[in-house]
């Protein structure tokens, strides 16, 4: 059995808007193991993004226990949560959210610089990731000079460049056409297969869900269904970009 990277026990989240209280999560129980490729699905307002924000240490639960890489999110300070995100988590956003004034290469490098990598090492690493994702020729372009699909691939490159253990993607294909959505899912799946990274992504798109190994359905802030695809072959980690240990089985 592989290590859980994410454990949620009776996690709730309440948003307060003036006197109004909105119960976004009503007691989530979920365990995500290392190397999983998990899709969070459910209708709008079901709590997918809220849960991803909690899992990404961007927010803290109102109650319940949420462990990310064995650390309780509620017990961490802002600075500790930032450090956790920097060292162990990667994010892919629906709207790409690349820094517009930096080139594709610089966007990927940025996280590595935040981690304190030296200029040469981070450049080499960022270039290697871009190359792996077929973006080498676009390295010098700024986000405004890239298509949506290209921007999202750069965003994936940024998310995985620092070799995080858990990558969280909120509707990563929502702004992409079918072809680009397919390309992106193949890329993410490939990264998971070769590097053992854990991917948790939310989506509405059935074509994207088809790529998932495990599908968790949220309804009204609760886990309504948790399905694991039967017969999914354990992935192998191949050398190259990836890390050399921590092979995971789904």
């Amino acid at each position: 059995m592989t290590q859980p990277v994410l454990v949620a026990r009776q996690v709730t989240k309440v948003f307060r808007q003036g006197k109004l209280e909105v119960l976004a999560l009503r007691g989530i129980d979920l365990e995500v193991r290392e190397g999983e490729f998990l899709a969070l699905v459910g209708p709008s307002g079901s709590g997918k993004t809220t849960f991803l924000n909690l899992a990404g240490a961007l927010d803290v639960p109102t109650s319940g226990e949420l462990l990310v890489l064995a650390r309780s999110i509620a017990a961490l300070s802002r600075a500790e949560r930032a450090e956790l995100r920097l060292r162990s988590l990667g994010f892919v956003f629906q709207a790409y959210n690349l820094v517009p004034v930096l080139t594709a290469l610089e966007n990927v490098e940025f996280v590595l610089e935040l981690q304190g990598e030296g200029a040469t090492r981070r450049r080499t690493r960022a270039m290697a990731v871009l190359e792996e994702l077929g973006l080498r020729d676009l390295a010098g372009r700024r986000p405004g000079e890239l298509s949506g699909g290209q921007q999202q691939r750069v965003a994936v490159a940024r998310a995985v460049a620092a070799r995080p253990r858990l990558v969280l993607a909120d509707e990563p294909t929502a702004n992409l056409d079918g072809e680009n959505a397919e390309i992106l899912m193949h890329l993410m799946r490939d990264l998971r297969d070769r590097q053992g990274m854990t991917f948790v992504f939310s989506t509405h798109d059935p074509r994207v869900v088809a790529h998932a190994v495990r599908v968790v359905t949220l309804v009204d802030g609760r886990v309504a269904r948790d399905e694991e695809k039967p017969g999914e072959a354990p992935h192998e980690i191949v050398p190259g970009l990836g890390k050399s240990s921590g092979a995971a089985r789904v």
Binding site: T49, N53, G56, L58, D59, R78, A79, A82, E83, L84, R85, L86, R87, L89, F91, F93, A95, N97, V99, P100, V101, L102, E106, E109, F110, V111, E113, L114, Q115, A119, R158
Partner: protein
């Protein structure tokens, strides 16, 4: 090569070119005005120090024990010669002039004028006392010349006396007796101010010694090449003085004069402060708008793991870039004016005539600004300092960005 953070900051500054240009222009104008004001302040410092020092007090004056509290002209230095030698050995001293003062009643016929007579060394006094060069009729004292006096025109007029007239000086002697001596007027000083003219009455130091029975100098006026080194000169001078004698600066000697100067400076610095505050608020508003526009971007940076202090540093880096550009504009705008101010001065003759006096000091009617390498540091300090101050709130705001909430905002 600059770090990515720096490149990001620099490119962010260029994102909204119009806003950046307006901010830079605002900082630049504020900087230029502050430069001009500071040039005026420094020029005024120099003017006050120069005219104050050469109106009799010297930049530094060596005085006897007890003089600071009593200001008694009968007090004499413990060892005037030693103090004089010490003063002359201090680097940067342009002149050191010994003096002995006495309260004297000048009389000619039935006319009497009370004056403060100064016994001087005529060889060095003109270098320490600028009114010695304002002899309008006759001449100044010759070195070693006894029985001769130089008086101000107002004094001569009140005595109904003229050149070569003999006048009687009467003072209280050492033992309390009344002592008198005869002096021949060899020169009449005309400064344009009756107040100053009435204060001019110079004879040989030995004549005062003889008249009062008090031997030695009562002070040594020290004039420096550079008034800015006043404190340093005093510090070097003080330990070497004869026992009990002490060194006082021109501002200590003329507290009212110093007060007037400080008041003037405070007024112009207040004006500079108000200008800078207005600029600062404008820049703060622009910076805050820039941060608010990028809330989502800051949320992304936070999601990527950028800590609060790093975000503050990022906003500050942008502020420094703005401040440097503003300082450059400030120098470009302000330097021509400061240069003109320093070379041509501000002419107040239309309002105050050829000169005016205050506290026994005659001021020149043209005020020159100061121009030196300090302008670069000052402009950088004002430009960068103001923008950093203006960025405090935006930086705090950026650092406190709630990533989850900000990411919910529409892109």
């Amino acid at each position: 090569m600059a770090s990515l953070e720096t490149r990001y900051a620099l490119r962010s500054v260029r994102r909204n070119a119009r806003r950046t240009l307006l901010s830079v222009l605002g900082i630049g104008i504020g900087c230029a005005l502050a430069l001009y004001m500071e040039s005026m302040n420094r020029g005024r410092d120099e003017l006050f120090a120069r005219v104050g020092a050469t109106s009799g007090s010297g930049h530094v004056r060596v005085v006897p024990a007890g003089w600071r509290a009593r200001r008694d002209t009968r007090l004499r230095l413990a060892d005037g010669q030693a103090d004089l030698q010490m003063a002359r050995s201090v680097p940067g001293v342009a002149a050191a002039a010994p003096r002995a003062r006495a309260q004297v009643l000048l009389a000619m016929g039935t006319h009497v004028v009370p004056v403060e007579m100064a016994g001087v060394d005529a060889a060095v006094e003109p270098r320490a006392y600028r009114f010695a060069q304002k002899v309008s009729r006759g001449r100044y004292l010759e070195p070693g010349e006894r029985g001769a006096v130089v008086v101000g025109k107002a004094t001569a007029d009140r005595l109904r006396s003229d050149l070569d007239d003999e006048i009687v000086g009467t003072a209280v002697g050492r033992s309390g007796s009344i002592e008198s001596a005869m002096f021949r007027i060899v020169g009449i000083v005309e400064t344009g101010s009756d107040e100053i003219d009435l204060s001019v009455c110079q004879v040989a130091l030995e004549d005062v010694e003889e008249l009062t029975g008090l031997v030695g100098a009562g002070e040594v006026a020290v004039v420096l090449d550079d008034w800015r080194s006043t404190e340093a000169a005093r510090a070097r001078l003080a330990p070497g003085l004869a026992r009990g004698d002490e060194a006082m600066t021109w501002s200590e000697l003329n507290p009212e004069f110093q007060g007037h100067l400080e008041q003037d400076k405070a007024t112009s610095r207040f004006a500079s402060g108000v200008i800078l505050l207005i600029v600062l608020l404008g820049v703060a508003s622009a910076q805050l708008a820039a941060v608010l526009e990028r809330r989502r971007e800051f949320a992304v940076l936070s999601a990527l793991g950028m800590g609060a202090w790093r975000m503050v540093r990022l906003v500050f880096a942008e502020a420094v870039a703005l401040g440097l550009a503003g300082a450059a504009v400030g120098l470009a705008l302000g330097l021509p004016f400061v240069w003109r101010f320093a070379t041509h001065g501000l002419d107040f003759r239309r309002w105050m005539g050829s000169s005016y006096s205050f506290q026994g000091v005659i001021f020149e009617p043209i005020l020159y600004g100061d121009l030196g390498p300090w302008v670069v540091g000052y402009a950088l300090g004002v430009g960068v300092g103001a923008t950093l101050l203006a960025s405090l709130h935006p930086a705090w705001f950026a650092a406190r960005t709630d990533p989850a909430a900000a990411l919910r905002l529409a892109p």
